[in-house]
Amino acid sequence: MATRERDAIAAEASERSGAVSLRALTKAFEEVTAVDGIDLDVAAGEFFSLLGPSGCGKTTTLRLIAGFERPTGGEVLLDGTDLSAVPPERRNVNTVFQSYALFPHLNVSDNVAFGLRYQKVDRRDRERRVREALELVELGELAKRRPHQLSGGQQQRVALARALILRPALLLLDEPLGALDAKIRRQLRLELKSLQEEVGTTFIFVTHDQEEALSMSDRIAVMNRGRIDQIGTPREVYESPRTLFVADFLGVANTMSVEAVGGEGGGCSVRAGEFMLEAGCGDLDARGEVTVVVRPERLEVSDHDPDPGPNCLPGMVDRTVFVGSNLQVMVRLATGALLQASVPNGGEGLDRFRQGSPVKVRIPADALRVLSGA
């Protein structure tokens, strides 16, 4: 029951609020511009993710906020104050490192207490806060262990406790789950999210794992080559990707090059070979050569539908892959395009979609998205 410490962390978090704004933030190294003029507003108490492939500038952005790097341009504002000239030790911002960076010469409680050395906290208070911070991450019994005696998941929690005990306005997390195996990662995802809700501290979470970002974040910024491609809620960036990169990075995206010819009402008709499809979302005013995307789970594949409705394309099963909960059915359309459909595993195994068997693929209009400027 680490209530006092948790409440104290939460109180500080709400008091200082912890809203972050990046203004035209730029970091150029000798050879590359890692961060290229980013503008971003993170609200206080938000769980915000920076998502992107390696080398997209997400970690550099985090390091600029933490103060390990000095921007070559732009500003980092924490609750309206520019931090650019403030060294990391004087920022009310703490970091959970990808490697955790737990000090190997100190035991767990000394690691957690480390930051309190540099604040005026008397001994009794310090001991209580360490105890409660460890209880907050459910590691009370391991206080005397050394970091190397802990599992990866436990180390990660010590790193969290070590950062949160300082009651930061903002917590930065650099791929904190990256070093763990898949099962623990999934479990810690939930824990991390509920911990964040409990303490209310603003979290900025860097990851290349789209599932991680989607499942935990209030909002996500998808980064690509030092810029932000799209900012939105998990649903927005997944369902309504603005660029091909975003569509492709967040899960499997089937893309087709089609010709938009427009249409009556709200939709947009596109021509794929000799077939006409109705696209219901995205840039519906586009005309001419455009790219449309559709998620695999939105495709409806049927093997015995004599009467195809609208938005149906004939095709042939190219191959089917069994992935447990789903079947991945690759369908070669009559237009030549190859689509991946995800079909729930109903127990019939691969037999339903044998290689070469003819199928119909229905693309619901509201799942077919026209990308702008593609």
Binding site: F68, V93, G115, H148
Partner: protein, 316 residues
């Protein structure tokens, strides 16, 4: 098609016969040949030393004919034993003085240089990194002769201010031993990486506090190891120490051993001196190893191995 048909390959046999008998080349068995070679080498290397040690306990004056056991050359003889003859006691004292001074100067200097070099990015840093290694590869004789020249011939401050004797000996030893410290500490720094220090800064430590509370504790094995290396280098050193010496006052044990090795007038007391050198070095190595093990046990699951690996890299 016909080509494929003619190229029918012999089926590979399921088992290829071994050419060597089983006792010699049994891959699951003990590596007997390796073990034998290793023991032969160890005996070859240790036996001469053991002989020398044994003769320090000889009852007679001979250093080659055994005349019974005694401790006269150690302390029994009031005039000629190691701990009575001023030639020996003085050399011992001077050797230890030089070793301690060398350690006290080269270790802190080397640590600072290593930390500095690991942070220095940009123009000149690569050249500096390379040049730091030059003293390791320079033939010692060349270094000794050049140091002698600049200290005695050059009328340029600061070189002209250094006179042969203890000062020159310490400076000479520090000159070459500091490189070893730099190499050991740098390799450890590279293994530690920048994260711990950044984590300390992140948690509120100033750059100096991060150094003091995180980096130096993590460097302790490397610092101990390098101090040990410096001590051993200094105790062992002959060439530079000899060239930088001024008189009998600045004679060290290696110098004494060298000048008396072939002399007819020497007694087993000289063996006793050699024995003391061996023991001092062994105690140093053993003590440092024990300390590292203890330290390693506290920090890493890999107990003490890290520091020994660092020693090995330098010796290589």
């Amino acid at each position: 098609m016909s080509a494929a048909a003619t190229r029918v390959e012999e089926p590979r046999p399921a088992i290829r016969p071994s050419r060597l008998p089983d006792w010699l080349a049994n891959p699951w068995g003990r590596p007997r040949f390796l073990a034998l070679t290793t023991w032969l080498y160890i005996i070859w290397a240790l036996v001469p030393v053991l002989f020398a040690i044994a003769f320090s306990f000889n009852d007679g004056r001979s250093r080659s004919v055994w005349q019974g056991f005694s401790t006269r050359w150690w302390w029994g003889d009031e005039t000629f034993s190691v701990f009575h003859d001023p030639t020996y006691t003085h050399a011992l004292e001077h050797s230890l003085t030089l070793a301690v001074l060398d350690m006290a100067i080269a270790a802190p200097l080397g640590i600072l240089l290593a930390i500095g070099l690991s942070r220095w990015r940009g123009y000149g840093s690569r050249a500096a990194n390379f040049l730091m290694l030059v003293p390791l590869t320079t033939p010692e004789l060349a270094m000794a002769v050049s140091l002698l020249l600049v200290f005695t011939q050059l009328s340029l401050v600061p070189f002209s201010a250094i006179h042969l004797g203890t000062t020159a000996q310490v400076i000479g030893q520090v000159t070459f031993s500091v490189s070893y410290v730099v190499v050991i500490v740098r390799s450890r720094l590279a293994a530690i990486g920048p994260d711990y220090e950044q984590a300390a800064r992140d948690l509120g430590a100033s750059p100096r506090q991060a150094l003091q509370h995180v980096l130096l504790p993590l460097l302790t094995p490397a610092i101990l190891a390098s101090m040990l290396i410096v001590f051993a280098l200094s105790i062992d050193d002959f060439v530079v120490t000899q060239y930088m010496s001024s008189s009998g006052e600045t004679t060290t044990i290696p110098m004494l051993l060298y000048s008396n090795a072939r002399g007819g007038a020497t007694t087993p007391a000289l063996n006793a001196v050699a024995t003391i050198m061996v023991v001092v070095t062994l105690v140093g190595v053993g003590g440092a190893y024990a300390a590292l093990r203890w330290f390693g046990h506290r920090t890493e699951s890999d107990s003490g191995g890290a520091a020994m690996r660092e020693l090995a890299t330098v010796e290589a």
